[in-house]
Amino acid sequence: MSGPYLDVTGVSKRFGGLQALDDCSFAIEPGQITCLVGPNGAGKTSVFNVITGFIRPDAGQVRFRGQVLTRMGSRRIVGLGICRSFQNLRLFADLSVLDNVTVYLPSRTDENPFRPILRPIRTEIERKRRMAAAMSILEEVGLAHRARDAVRNLSYGEQKLLCVARLMASGAELLLLDEPTSGLSAQALEAMIALVLRLKAAGRTFLVVEHNTRIVQRLADSVVFLHQGHVLAQGEPAAIVADPKLGEIYFGGAL
């Protein structure tokens, strides 16, 4: 492969009087888990929004496998293999657990509005195929037994697993997880960590927003430290976590 896998260079974004991202640069290696850390309001979610085409940066660019993403719509970016989750989940609350996953499966013609009328049998076959594909993803994340349930009946931990299941369905190779472990019970936390590590072993690449330094040390191959929209440091987890200057910023001097 030529050049880095995912490369964020000099990205800046202003919201009114607030500089959310300020000359932000870092890179991600394929097959690794990169953790994006930094205090609240550091711009972590904004980084996700820029990479996935949800917001257009004022300056700088994002390249993925050598292609410039910065002017692409989110549709093409997902097509290239990047899919993101949301900090506030954004599950389809009225849809079943299974349908939350099927909607994230890619489609060429199966979602054509006239297809069910023009080719009803074909559409039915595709529907079954999509349901089976979604079901096998739910099995992988351990939610198969809840496939028919409404999302609102899931526990918070299950809802967060479902968010990862949706990203898996998209077929993306690079998954961006926005605070996948926040608010989880100890048991749900272990399930999430195990799932992410399993997916990594299967070849997927991750960029994960994570606050807990102990979880960072368990997950991360590389850590990007963001502060006031600027990357202060990128490196091995042990080095970043041990850096007293970063600790002071992160914990407000509590370390």
Partner: protein, 287 residues
């Protein structure tokens, strides 16, 4: 007997229109208040084409279907980029504009006095001028439309438009084009209500702007609120009940000039009562 068959024919026509409203408003969450206008375009298309002998009934129906799909698309396209509450205002504007066109394009629509003498549907060389004969046609069209409605709802596209109602941003994050899906559902929905409009003109043989104004749009919305959003049963039950109301009022000892306002009041009360006490309607889901 004729009385009952007429009621049934009207109920079937509104059931077709309700499926259209359900796809757009109930499933996708595009809160349109211009369904009456599109219904009217279907009716005027068939009325004008068959009255002037410019086209046979089946060809006129096909024209209504295509024209309504295209109109719905054209009015939807700019508005679909506008979110939520603003769409209601835009769609209200479209309804008002359409009524003005029906009223003032006097040469072809007959203006406020409407179009009289629209010929009954003629299919396979037979005039369906009896309710008993017409009901055969409207039932076949309704059955086919119901099948399509059911197929669309269970298809991957059906899942997609349900997801769009729930969270457009999450659909965008899945790499799907929300706009393309909305354009698709607008066209589909236009086709359903276009068929309804065409049958309406052929059945009543008289159409005027009053049948396709904002009140008509609200009636179409009330039908899915009462029947229930997002289900086939809801699209059938709502129109069946609401089109029965004028018939019931007409046999009650009420002065005929009070029947119209009374009907509107009852529609309004039903809308409020269902929203408050049974938002999922009789056989549907919450709007």
């Amino acid at each position: 007997m004729n009385f009952f068959l007429s009621y049934l024919a009207i109920a079937e026509i509104y059931a077709l229109a309700s499926m259209s409203t359900n796809l757009l408003v109930g499933v996708t969450g595009i809160f349109s208040v211009s369904q009456g206008a599109i219904f009217g375009i279907g009716a005027y298309t068939v009325g004008i084409l068959t009255l002037n002998d410019w086209a046979s009934f089946p060809v006129a129906m096909a024209a209504a279907l295509i024209l309504c799909a295209l109109t719905n698309l054209a009015v939807a396209l700019p508005a679909l980029r506008i979110a939520g509450d603003y769409f209601v205002v835009t769609s209200f504007g479209i309804q008002i504009a359409a009524t003005a066109v029906f009223m003032n394009l006097t040469d072809i629509t007959g203006g406020a006095s409407g179009l009289a003498g629209v010929p009954p549907p003629n299919v396979f060389g037979r005039d369906l001028d009896e309710p008993g004969a017409f009901i055969l046609l409207s039932s076949i069209v309704l059955a086919a439309a119901a099948l399509f409605f059911w197929l669309v709802l269970r298809s991957p596209f059906g899942r997609l438009i349900n997801a769009i109602r729930e969270d457009e941003l999450a659909v965008t994050a899945a790499g799907k084009s929300v706009l393309a899906a909305k354009v698709g559902v607008s066209a589909l929905s236009g086709m359903f209500v276009g068929l309804a409009g065409g049958l309406y003109a052929g059945f009543l043989s008289f159409i005027d702007p009053g049948s396709f104004d904002i009140d008509a749009s609200i009636l179409l919305l009330t039908m899915i609120v009462v029947g229930g959003a997002r289900t086939l049963a809801g699209s059938l039950i709502g129109p069946a009940l609401l089109t029965a109301l004028p018939q019931v009022l007409s046999v009650l000892p009420i002065p005929s000039d009070a029947a119209g306002p009374l009907r509107q009041i009852l529609y309004g009360l039903m809308l409020i009562a269902f929203m408050l006490f049974r938002p999922q309607g009789i056989a549907g889901r919450r709007l």
